[in-house]
């Protein structure tokens, strides 16, 4: 095995030659509108990026208590949507969009979720074929910031994530507010508003070392079979991405108006599956996420308020949310399952809180939320029988002026893949058709587009 001229050798000579900033580092593209996709209005001569995120909650809703009657603007708020009243102007409700199973079995809590995320239902996450849409969006817009994406969960379990490159490649979550703080605002954090920026030679060295790691690619790929090659190639892509993010650390970040390094969060004590504790931790996590976005640390995120097949409970109860959806009797007077209703309401309260927090961070002439598109969804509509028709979806934000907020769109049985397609197109992914089988669609949800 020989390695006569190495990329690292070249970089090293650059460093040894006295260059203060390493040779070969790509120009920061964060604020260059090269593809015309990820940028919004201008402010003070700079352009504001548009960010994308998902917000997931488990076990859906009770349709007759959630779906608005009136379509368009100023839609009515049924009881389970009442919590979003204060932020309704930011939120589009997309009701009645269906998962088509195409003859496949409805695997509880999996079929609906995989269908929303990949445009095709699968019977296990490992069986999915295509990346989830958040990954496709992050491929298009994620590379200019320090974190390509932030995957977040609140249950202490990094496997609580519905973001997949493929069936065997899960994007694991940061499972607590404190870990998120350390990841984003720890020792690697560069305050974009810091006046005296000096590139730290440590980042230059780390980048150079990684470049050497990356050089092994060709020799290793030649050694292995096709399936292993794809896996190793994915690893080397990760190496390349890390080199790029270290390169970002060597350049003065553009100022970020609303960026303030937050204090470390104090985690809420108690059972993290208890819904009140969960909501409090979610609030902490949301504030940190808002600052991570305002400080341009990432442009893509996935926030998982709960797992599919919700694990939320009330401390002291033998029966949790998920079990209640199947076991609780419908109250004859009320006409619905009262415990299930309370948990669904709690999830909507958390969602409203999430939207509110992001809408309070000023940016440019508007707010951070104006420069975002957040897609909230669950994995079922009525959890009692794992119904995947009319899976609830909501959008928040204006996506830098490309999306009309505050509307209710009735899907009338159209495939839910239209929503995933729309989100990708809004975020600049060059895609005109998305999904598989009966879920394949080339029609965006035009009603919400400017």
């Amino acid at each position: 095995m020989t390695n006569p001229i190495s990329r690292r050798g070249f970089m090293l000579r650059g460093a040894l030659g006295g260059a203060s900033v390493a040779v070969g580092i790509p120009i920061l593209d964060a604020f260059l509108d090269t593809n015309g996709t990820a940028f919004a209005a201008t402010v003070g001569g700079g352009r504001l990026p548009v960010r994308f995120g998902t917000w997931f909650w488990g076990c859906g809703m009770i349709p007759e208590r959630w779906v608005p009657q009136k379509a368009g603007a100023d839609y009515d708020l049924p009881p389970q949507l009442a919590p979003i009243k204060a932020v309704q102007q930011h939120v589009c409700v997309l009701s009645g969009f269906d998962v088509m199973l195409d003859g496949k079995a409805n695997l509880p809590h999996i079929s609906g979720n995989t269908a929303v995320r990949t445009g095709e239902s699968a019977e296990a996450w490992q069986g999915i074929k295509a990346p989830t849409f958040d990954v496709l969006i992050s491929d298009a817009i994620g590379s200019g910031s320090y974190f390509r994406a932030l995957d977040l969960s609140l249950d202490g379990n990094p496997q609580t994530s519905y973001s997949y490159r493929n069936g065997s490649s899960l994007n694991a979550s940061v499972p607590s507010p404190l870990e998120l703080y350390e990841k984003v605002f720890g020792s690697d954090f560069h305050d974009p508003n810091n006046a005296d920026f000096k590139p730290d030679p440590k980042f230059m060295v780390r980048k150079s070392v990684l470049s050497g790691v990356g050089e092994q690619r060709r020799a290793l790929l030649a050694k292995v079979g096709a399936a292993d090659r794809a896996r190793l190639d994915q690893y080397f892509t990760s190496v390349r991405e890390m080199e790029d993010k270290l390169a970002l650390q060597l350049q003065k970040p553009p100022p970020a108006q609303a960026c303030l390094r937050p204090d470390a969060p104090v985690p809420v004590r108690g059972d993290i599956t208890d819904i009140d504790v969960r909501k409090a931790n979610h609030k902490l996590m949301t504030r940190l996420l808002g600052m991570a976005l305002a400080c341009n640390q990432t442009r893509v995120f996935n926030m998982n308020f709960d797992t599919a097949a919700a694990e939320l409970r009330r401390a002291g109860d033998t029966t949790g949310y998920h079990q209640s959806t199947h076991e609780e009797l419908v109250d004859r007077t009320l006409g619905y399952q009262p415990t299930v209703d309370k948990f669904a309401l709690g999830s909507m309260e958390a969602w409203a809180d999430f939207v509110q927090t992001l809408s309070e961070i000023p940016e440019g002439a508007g707010t951070l939320l104006d420069n975002m598109l957040v897609l909230a969804h669950s994995e079922v509509s009525l959890a009692k029988n794992h119904d995947v028709s009319g899976i609830p979806v909501m959008l928040a934000g204006r996506a830098g002026g490309r999306v009309k907020p505050g509307l209710h769109v009735k899907g009338s049985g159209e495939p839910v893949s239209r929503i995933g397609l729309t989100a990708q197109q809004v975020m600049g992914v060059p895609v005109d058709t998305w999904g598989a089988g009966a879920m394949r669609s080339n029609r965006a949800v035009d009603e919400i587009l400017v």
Binding site: A124, Q159, S168, G225, A226, R231
Partner: protein, 554 residues
């Protein structure tokens, strides 16, 4: 609303054809989901930790979150041949590596772990760097570094040292690179250049052997055997295998297998309702995992016992933290063996709190989850997911005035033939464990009614979990499942049609020699087939069903 979808749908959901077959299986005789041979396996978290401890010492802490291991048909060892490293995962490995390296170069450790430094005879430290890189690289990469690798790493070190104004910082940066290198993070097989074709080379053999027996990187003696070619000769291989099986480190390797086989790492994410189960806590949960592993190695290694006796043993490893859960006095500090008396319901590992608590809800038991877990882990069967449209309300109303016990409520479920087909398989086992609550504590009654612990396993009715343990002990399916699991664990893939006769032979030999786990592992380690190069083939994981799927049965 339908109470249940048709049986046909259940069967379709399992991906198994035929009305009478409910289980797909990774055990002999039944086809497994395809997992092709691979020559690249990602280190599991446990392996990473073991390697660092071996190379740098136990006082060097490994702190950080690893990219989660992937279970394929229950085993992370099989998943290790399917996973890669995501961008966020690599960030984690990088952060973990930097933390390790800072400790290696700390004043406390530097002299022991690095030793040399630039001096009059080695002004820029090039010789020191080369020595360190070669020695450390051999253990981390499980093979000698190529001359160009050493040359590049030394040049990198010196360049970094100049940029940072410190030799140590330069060498530390290079070590971080080694710890994020694919040669470290993945076990990559190299084909042998000489000898019969299709075999891996001596260093890859050493690696396979070491991870199978000790779950860590080869030690100096094994590396020397690889270098000398001793591993290519039957007597040389046998000498190493016997040396390693006799070492206390084989206990670590056995623990690693059973931790994977019984999926005990899930205990890390286990939480119980503190109001309902005040005796249960995170430290208790950790102790339950340790208890099961110690109980297993006490029988299988320390006493060279019969694997099947794990299902009838009354000897439980015990520690103070578990006293309240088992309601036994524990006066000795640390761990000791506690023997439950004849007639006590604690018999066999299925009555240990680890498995009982893991497969229950946060606030109550679940015979279905317990039965499913036992069927899947210990019998290598797969239970299909429940159909989507089931009304459980009548079945599991805990305030139901007539159906007071979980058994009564679940049995109401069995009136429906479609539901019954799966529940008979799971609940027949799970209900016999109902005397253990959701935290694994013994109880005699539920809502004032004595708990009935009769059940059915493979058409045989039994009364009480001790009888179930005996049925497990006597069932060839239990030992066949273990054999195929150890084979899959060692080879990092599922049993395929061409492997079946070898696995069958392995089981015959296991049975003929008294079901000794040590002998089973020894047979695998001495078999030349264990050292063949994986034929690269297209991987299909589409059919793989795993514990990572997000839904849970009720």
């Amino acid at each position: 609303m339908k109470r249940c979808l048709s049986r046909m749908v259940l069967v379709t959901a399992a991906g198994v054809a035929g009305l009478s077959i409910l289980f797909s299986s990774a055990s002999p005789g039944k086809p497994s989901p395809a997992t092709a041979q691979s020559s690249v396996r990602r280190l599991t978290e446990a392996q990473y930790r073991n390697v660092i401890a071996d190379v740098f010492g136990r006082n060097v802490e490994v702190v950080g979150r690893f990219e989660p291991d992937l279970r394929v048909d229950g085993l992370a060892a099989v998943g290790s041949s399917a996973v890669s490293i995501t961008p966020a995962g690599l960030e984690q490995y990088d952060a973990i590596a930097r933390h390790i390296v800072a400790q290696v170069f700390s004043p406390d450790n530097r002299a022991r772990l690095v030793g040399c430094a630039p001096g009059p005879g080695d002004p820029d430290g090039a010789t020191c760097a080369a020595t360190f890189i070669q020695q450390t690289g051999l253990r981390l990469f499980r093979r000698p570094l190529a001359p160009w690798e050493v040359r590049d790493d030394v040049a990198q070190t010196l360049g970094s040292a100049r940029t940072l104004g410190s030799f140590d910082e330069g060498l530390a940066a290079t070590l971080v690179g080694m710890l994020t290198s694919p040669s470290f993070l993945f076990r990559i097989d190299t084909p042998a250049r000489t000898g019969p074709s299709g075999m891996v080379d001596g260093y890859s053999k050493a690696s396979r052997l070491s991870f199978l027996l000790w779950n860590t990187t080869p030690d100096d003696a094994l590396l020397a055997a690889a270098a000398s070619g001793a591993l290519d000769r039957p007597e040389g291989l046998q000498a190493q295998v016997d040396r390693m099986l006799a070492s206390p480190r084989f206990t670590d390797g056995t623990r690693a297998f059973f931790d994977d086989f019984l999926q005990l790492s899930e205990i890390d994410h286990l939480s119980k309702d503190a109001l309902i189960y005040p005796a249960f806590s995170t430290s208790v949960a950790t102790a339950t995992r340790e208890q099961t592993l110690r109980t297993i190695t006490d029988l299988l290694i320390d006493h060279r016992g019969d694997y099947r006796d794990l299902f009838t043993t009354r000897r439980f490893a015990m520690t103070r933290a578990l006293g309240p859960i088992y309601d036994v006095p524990v006066s000795k500090p640390g761990w000791s063996i506690y023997e439950f008396p004849e007639g006590d319901p604690r018999v066999g590992i299925v009555t240990q709190a680890s498995l009982l608590a893991l497969h229950a809800h946060p606030g109550r038991t679940s015979p279905t989850l317990r039965g499913k877990a036992i069927r899947e882990a210990l019998l290598c069967q797969q239970i299909p997911a429940p159909p989507a449209n089931v009304n459980f309300a009548v079945v599991q109303d805990v305030n139901n005035p007539t159906l007071k016990t979980t058994r009564q409520r679940l049995e109401a479920h069995l009136d429906d033939e479609e539901c019954a087909s799966c529940h008979k398989a799971t609940d027949g086992i799970g209900l016999s464990l109902e005397q253990f609550d959701g935290a694994g504590q013994f109880r005699r009654t539920e809502h004032g009614i004595p708990i009935d612990v009769t059940g059915k396993f493979d058409k045989v009715a039994f009364d009480g979990v001790a009888k179930l343990g005996q049925l497990f002990h006597d069932s060839p399916r239990v030992s066949e499942c273990l054999v195929s699991a150890v084979w899959r664990y060692g080879n990092g893939r599922n049993v395929q049609a061409g492997d079946q006769s070898a696995v069958d032979d392995l089981h015959r030999s296991f049975a003929a020699h008294g079901y000794r786990f040590v002998d089973l592992v020894r047979t695998i380690a001495l078999d030349p087939a264990f050292y063949t190069m994986g034929a690269p083939a297209a991987r299909s994981l589409t059919a793989a069903r795993t514990a990572m799927s997000k839904g849970k049965a009720s």
